[in-house]
């Protein structure tokens, strides 16, 4: 079990995220999902990857695989500007609270999601939200797209030291999902 980026959120137990370094298997996993969801948080507005906002990569991913979006915090506004209408707007804990419920009808009213991707949530809050899902949502899998390791996810990217590696992974993912 590798260490998360922020030691302050560290080691919580014996079930830790699988670290994913390659885009290809990740894309496969995502494609296999029946009802995926992409949760986009506000750090996606602030963080840039080689000059391009992280949120645009996330939008690319959503588009590539036709994944509905839940916009948390105030990300909705930017998404609209990018011409992407999120399927729902919640606080991150609210969407997690809904996802916990296997009977929930999901953001599209088609049933609860089975695979949830997260991007742009603070590491501490994100890891806590993922903790809720790890414990209480056995019916779904989670994955994070930020450049940090989130131990409470099922799949997580590693702690990237180099931006270009992160970028390559995200781009690879977009390509793989198309």
């Amino acid at each position: 079990m590798p260490h998360p980026q922020h030691l302050v959120n560290i080691l919580t137990g014996i079930k830790g995220a699988m670290e994913m370094k390659d885009a290809t298997p990740l894309a496969k996993i995502i494609k296999k999902a029946e009802r995926p969801l992409l949760v986009i948080g506000p750090r996606a507005l602030e963080v840039e990857i080689e000059g391009r906002p992280f949120i645009e990569y996330l939008v690319d991913i959503a588009k590539a695989a036709n994944i509905p979006i839940c916009a948390t915090a105030h990300t909705k506004k930017k998404l609209l500007e990018l011409g992407m209408t999120p399927e729902s707007t919640y606080d991150v804990v609210e969407i997690v609270n809904a996802l916990k419920d296997a009977e929930w009808k999901g953001v599209k009213g088609e049933g609860c999601h089975d695979f949830v991707l997260f991007g742009g949530i603070r590491t501490d809050l994100g890891n806590q939200a993922l903790s809720t899902l790890k414990h209480f949502a056995p019916h779904l899998k989670t994955m994070t797209l930020c450049k940090y390791y989130y131990p409470n996810a099922n799949f997580s990217l590693p702690n990237y030291k180099k931006e270009e590696e992160w970028k390559a992974l995200l781009e690879g993912l977009v390509a793989g999902l198309k």
């Binding site: 302050v8 919580t12 105030h74 909705k76 590491t123 809720t132 414990h135």
Partner: protein, 765 residues
């Protein structure tokens, strides 16, 4: 075991024969007496758990892995375990205030006698609404306050007991216990603050309390400087007295950090506020203080070590934080001062008068001997920053997730701005410097980017006056004052100064009533607008639309719940006495008050917030607060929003999720503001009132999110609820959503929707 004798005993304690109000159903409630109310609340607002650790390490059967459906060796599951930890945190928080209350009341009884009367001036008749409502006692003297705290202590035993291995096993039952002990936290805070107000003769009947200087820049470092840190004004007021008696008030600087600062400025407006907890380590390391008097709570545990490094001496003055120091309470002052001056010895003095004398005498002698270093300038900082090897360790350990390393690298290149940003968001924990393998003196660098400006803080006010309640009661309940926003707790987190100030400004401008306590009340003053005015200079201090009120220190939080209770009592004429369920139900359904604990970090914040929750006041928390592990969230579409129509006595499905949550974490200040506006909505709003509330909700939502709120249809009961300004687009939106009118109730209540001895009639007066 409710028992006849037990009842008699309670009646004796609360002086049942005093007929100020009829006695309600729950005088001095025992742990389980309000359990059904809690269960009803938590049916709508279910505990939401985010475990901070999958393991339990509380007994030697463990560590047990509780992941998912695993159970511990004692049989416990992860939900109950979270409830258990939350209960324990609330006990720790509550006991901090109960211990403070017990101590200060004894101290004041020693000074004034136990018959010393409670008199909060002619503007406050309902002097202790929490004690009245919870115990059923109308306290008249210090002794009565002591009685309230003793009762709370007895309850603490039972609640702590329930956290023992093999006791409670159900999450909701743990939450009920957390709610109970947190309700009692407000009782203890009230007892402590009221004791202090009367005992130290703090002002209570003026809204425009003085403005005092704030910031390290305001301190004259050429004078001897005594720094008081913590929460308990016993020692600091003795210091002021000693200075006054010796005519030294202008010769010695007394500056405070954390709540003791707020208390001290209530006692003397020559005292200065350094700032909140987040500035403690920074200020101590700056070496400005000659003597540091620490009392209790929020004192850095490495204080003595840090003080030694810069040649300050520490006097610990509380049994709660003895810090391994030798007790010298009974030694001659001269001897103690000598050891401090000559050998830099820290000590423990549990006699406050003695501590004060020693502090002043030592400061007078130490100051001339010390050469206090001036803060470094930017040039020097740039030079020092060059030692950074960009290893990233500092960034990795920062609890506030700040980009410390990159900012230092920028600084080394001559750009101080990013590091300045870091400092402003910094909670001052010191982890970064500790972690740096290259010895970069990060705190020293901060001196160069810190503003040495002086700000203003309005002196804390204490309880809201009855006259004010009388004036705002109707507008609040009916909704024409859109809400009371209480920024409480530590504000020791993300972008504290800017974010808190921005939120306060936004809501004060919108004519909400904004109240503040504790570190938040300081923080908010640490920003100036373009004209150089702080928030306190910009807005009046009245508890009225558009007012920004510094209620006081942390224990003043009880006056916030107290104000809500007083609305029920003074405006709606409901008796408070032992009438907790009715009052909480009233607040939940009719008083648009919201707590905001943006930077809450400690166990006290957990119990303060949880105490608000039991009373029906929702609380919005900052992002890192997910680490508290538990929220109370509803599901607006799946939830059951049925209430009793108090007039018609029939159940009505309101379909309206108001207030939507009881405890929620939001991710950004934008989201928080929108959530706050929404949480002010109450079932009881009049139609004009609802219009105003929705107007702000829509306006804020549009501002930050760009569209109409996507849940707006849930909060529009009839077309008359729609704000004029947005009429057209809202109508169109409602049509798209297939909206249909919903019932409007004038007396919504949960009483009658669950098993309780309280009759529905009790909700009407």
């Amino acid at each position: 075991m409710k028992g006849k004798r037990k009842k008699e005993e309670k009646e004796k304690i609360i002086r049942a024969e005093d007929e100020w109000e009829p006695i309600g159903h729950t005088p001095m409630p025992h742990v389980t007496d309000l359990r059904n109310w809690d269960r009803r609340l938590l049916e709508t607002y279910k505990p939401f758990y985010a475990p901070f650790c999958d393991l339990c390490c509380l007994c030697t059967y463990g560590k047990c892995d509780l992941t998912g459906t695993n159970r511990g060796a004692c049989g416990i599951d992860i939900s109950a375990q979270q409830g258990r930890i939350v209960t324990l945190a609330c006990c720790m928080g509550m006991s901090a205030h109960a211990g403070h209350a017990a101590h200060i009341i004894d101290y004041l009884i020693e000074k004034h006698g136990e018959d010393y009367p409670i008199d909060l001036g002619d503007q406050v008749n309902v002097e202790c609404p929490n004690i009245r409502t919870v115990l059923g006692l109308k306290p008249k003297t210090l002794r009565d306050l002591k009685t309230a705290v003793q009762y709370a202590a007895e309850q603490l035993v039972h609640v702590v007991s329930s956290t023992h291995t093999g006791q409670e096993g159900d999450a909701v039952d743990y939450e009920s216990k957390a709610l109970h002990i947190s309700m009692l936290d407000h009782v203890c805070m009230e007892a402590a603050d009221v004791a202090q107000i009367i005992g130290f003769k703090f002002p209570t009947s003026v809204a425009d309390t003085p403005l005092v200087d704030m910031g390290w820049g305001s301190i004259d470092r050429k004078k001897p400087v005594i720094l008081v840190v913590g929460h308990n004004p016993a020692s600091s007021s003795e210091i002021i007295d000693y200075l006054r008696n010796k005519g030294l008030e202008d010769k010695v600087e007394v500056a405070g950090i954390c709540c003791t600062a707020l208390e001290t400025t209530r006692y003397s407006n020559k005292a200065k506020v350094v700032g909140p907890l987040s500035r403690q380590l920074f200020f101590v390391r700056a070496g400005i203080a000659d003597v540091i008097v620490a009392d209790e709570q929020c004192i850095r545990t490495d204080l003595t070590d840090e003080a030694s490094k810069v040649g300050s001496v520490v006097i610990a003055s509380s049994d709660k934080a003895c810090r391994g120091l030798e007790e010298v309470s009974d030694k001659p002052t001269d001897e103690v001062v000598k050891a401090m001056v000559d050998k830099g010895e820290h000590c423990l003095i549990l006699d406050h008068e003695k501590a004060a004398e020693v502090a002043v005498e030592a400061a007078l002698k130490i100051a001339p001997k010390r050469k206090k270093e001036e803060p470094i300038d930017e040039k020097k900082a740039i030079e020092l920053a060059k030692a950074c090897a960009a290893c990233g360790s500092c960034t990795q350990v920062c609890p506030n997730l700040l980009p410390v390393g990159p900012a230092i690298q920028k600084l080394a290149e001559g750009d101080a701005e990013p590091f300045k940003q870091v400092f402003e968001n910094c909670i001052g924990c010191g982890k970064c410097e500790e972690a740096c393998p290259h010895g970069v003196p990060i705190f020293k660098l901060m001196q160069a980017v810190a503003s040495w400006d002086t700000w203003k803080c309005r002196v804390g006010r204490g309880p809201v006056m009855d006259t004010e309640i009388r004036k705002v009661g109707a507008p609040i309940v009916l909704g024409t004052i859109p809400g009371v926003i209480a920024l409480v707790g530590c504000s020791n987190f993300p972008n504290e100064i800017d974010e808190i100030a921005e939120m306060v400004d936004e809501f004060a401008r919108r004519k909400y009533i904004v109240v503040l306590t504790g570190c938040s009340a300081m923080t908010v003053g640490m920003r100036k607008d373009k004209e150089g005015k702080t928030i306190y200079e910009k807005y009046p201090g009245d508890f009225d639309a558009g007012g920004v009120v510094n209620i006081g220190s942390c224990v003043s939080n009880a006056h916030i719940t107290g104000a809500a209770m007083k609305i029920a009592n003074i405006f709606a004429n409901l008796p408070l006495r032992a009438n907790y369920e009715v009052i909480a139900d009233y607040v939940l359904n009719r008083v648009g008050a919201v707590g905001v604990a943006w930077g809450a970090m400690s166990q006290k914040a957990a119990s303060i917030a949880t105490g608000c929750n039991r009373l029906g006041i929702p609380v919005v928390l900052g992002p890192h607060s997910a680490k508290y592990r538990r929220l109370y969230l509803s599901r607006k579409e799946e939830g059951d929003w049925t209430v009793m129509d108090g007039r018609k006595k029939e159940l009505v499905d309101t379909e309206e999720p108001s207030p939507e949550h009881l405890a929620i974490v939001t991710e950004s200040k934008e989201r928080a503001m929108v959530m706050i506006a929404k949480l002010c909505i109450r079932k009881n709003d009049t139609q004009p009132g609802r219009q105003i509330k929705l107007n702000h909700y829509i306006d804020l939502y549009k501002k930050f999110f760009g569209t109409l709120p996507d849940d707006l249809h849930h909060f529009v009961r009839t077309e008359r609820d729609i704000p004029m300004f947005f009429k057209k687009e809202v109508k169109q939106f409602l049509q798209e959503k297939g909206w249909k009118p919903k019932p409007v109730l004038s007396l919504p209540t949960l009483i009658g929707t669950y098993e309780t001895e309280v009759p529905v009639e009790a909700t009407i007066r």
